[in-house]
Symmetry: C2
Subunit: 239 residues, 2 copies
C-alpha cells in the first residue's frame, strides 16, 4: 500500500474568488510521481480554529498532510500557530530559523523587524523546509508539512521536502481518446473495469473544434496490465 496524503490550502483569497489556486494541482502531480496517494484536499480560510480542526481531521485519515499558505509576516498569517496547536506543540521564535532570516535580510541591508521575525516562529520539534526563494522556511511537524502559498515558493519547498519522504509505487497511466459519445463508451467501459479490478479507469468527455468524445484514462501500478486494458479498449472502439 502506498502512503496516503491530504492537502490543505489555506487562504481567504481562494474562497473569495480573488485567486485561483495552483498549488493543489502542482502537489497532486508531484505526489503521483513519487507514489504518495493524494486522497483528499480542503480549502479553509485564514482562521485559526478552522485550520486547527482541518489539520486534526485530515491527520486522522492520512499518513501525510501538506499545507499551503499563511506563513508570511502579516496579521492574517496564522498557519504556523494553528498547526502547532493542532498537534499540541509549543511554538516560539526559533534560533535556527531566526539565523536564516537574519542572514537573508543582512545581505539585502533590510532590518529583521518584529513582523519579519514572526516568520521564525517554528514549533518545537519541527524540521525546517528550505526556502531558496525568500529564506523564510516551511516546516514538517510530525506528518504535517507546512509550506508557503506563493506558488514559486511552494513549488521550491515541495522540491526540497519530497526527497525526505518515503514514497511508494507510482501509478502508471495511459489514456486513449475515443471519438464516441460517453454514452456509447460507458457500457463496454464498465464491463472492462469490472474485469480489471486492479486498475482505475476514468472517462473525461471533451468537445473541441467540432470533434467530441471522451479521453479514457487507465491507471495502475503494473504497466503491463495498464497496457493490456488499453489495448482491449482500443479494440472495442476502432477509430
Amino acid at each position: 500500500m502506498n502512503p496516503t496524503a491530504a492537502a490543505l490550502v489555506i487562504g481567504d483569497e481562494i474562497l473569495s474568488g480573488r485567486t485561483r489556486d495552483s498549488n493543489l494541482h502542482f502537489l497532486a502531480g508531484e505526489l503521483a510521481r513519487v507514489g504518495i496517494d493524494l486522497r483528499e484536499a480542503r480549502v479553509v480560510p485564514d482562521v485559526h480554529g478552522r485550520i486547527v480542526e482541518a489539520v486534526r481531521a485530515l491527520l486522522a485519515g492520512h499518513d501525510h498532510v501538506f499545507t499551503s499558505g499563511g506563513i508570511g509576516p502579516t496579521h492574517d498569517d496564522v498557519t504556523a500557530d494553528a498547526v502547532a496547536e493542532a498537534l499540541g506543540a509549543s511554538i516560539a521564535v526559533r534560533e535556527d530559523a531566526r539565523l536564516l532570516l537574519q542572514a537573508h535580510y543582512d545581505r539585502q541591508g533590510i532590518a529583521l523587524n518584529e513582523a519579519r521575525l514572526r516568520m521564525a516562529r517554528i514549533p518545537e520539534g519541527a524540521a525546517l523546509i528550505d526556502n531558496p526563494v525568500s529564506a523564510a522556511p516551511g516546516f514538517s511537524l510530525g506528518r504535517v508539512h507546512v509550506m508557503a502559498g506563493v506558488p514559486r515558493i511552494f513549488e521550491a519547498m515541495v522540491a526540497s521536502l519530497l526527497p525526505r519522504l518515503t514514497g511508494g509505487t507510482p501509478l502508471l497511466s495511459q489514456s486513449l481518446r475515443i471519438l464516441r459519445g460517453e454514452g456509447e463508451i460507458a457500457g463496454p467501459l464498465a464491463a472492462l473495469a469490472a474485469e480489471f479490478p486492479d486498475l482505475l479507469m476514468g472517462s473525461y468527455p471533451f468537445q473541441k473544434a467540432g470533434a467530441h468524445g471522451a479521453t479514457v484514462v487507465v491507471r495502475g501500478p503494473d504497466g503491463a496490465r495498464v497496457g493490456e486494458a488499453v489495448a482491449r479498449l482500443a479494440a472495442l472502439f476502432p477509430p
Copy 2:
C-alpha cells in the same frame, strides 16, 4: 448574516494531478457576487462512501453545498446516488429527466441507451437544474446543489441555479499595490486591521519584472468604510 456555502469537487482526475480544477474558482467568484459566503471547499475521489461522508459533514456547517463532477453516464459517475444516500432520499430514473434526455438524443438521432439513462437518475423530491449544453440535468436536493464537472456545463448550471437562491450583501473589495516588502507593511497593516474590525484585510506578496511588494485587499459590506481604510493605507505608504 449572509448565507454560507461549501463547495465539493468530486473527481479522481483532480487528485491524481491529471486535471487542474477550474470550477471552484468560478463558483467562488459567482457566490461572492451574490453575497453567499463560501467558507470551505473539499476535493474527494469518485468513491461513493467518501462523497456521502463529505456531503453530510459540509451540510452540517453551511447553508448550501455545491458539488461539481460525477453525474455523467460512466461507471465512475456516482455522485447522484451518493448525494441521495447522504440525505436519505430514494433515487431512480425520473420521468421529467428522462424526457429531457429523450428529446435531446432524438434530435441527434442517437439512442437513449442504458448508460445514458443513468443520467436521468434523480433523487425523489429534487428540483432539476437546467443544462443548456448537453441536456442531462443537475439537481438541487434540499440545500445540496449537484452539478456537472465539465467546466462549460458547470458554469451554465451555476447561471441557471443562482437566481433561485437567496443571496445576501456582497462584500465590496478594493485593493492597493504597495511597493514595499510585506515585512514593512505587516506592522501598520495589523494596527489598521484592529481599528477596522468590520473589514477583512489580506496581504498578497508579488514579485514581477524587478518590482516587489504586496497587494493589500480590503473587503467589507460597507463601501464607504472600505474606501476609508484604503485611503488610510495609501497615506501610510506613499508611493
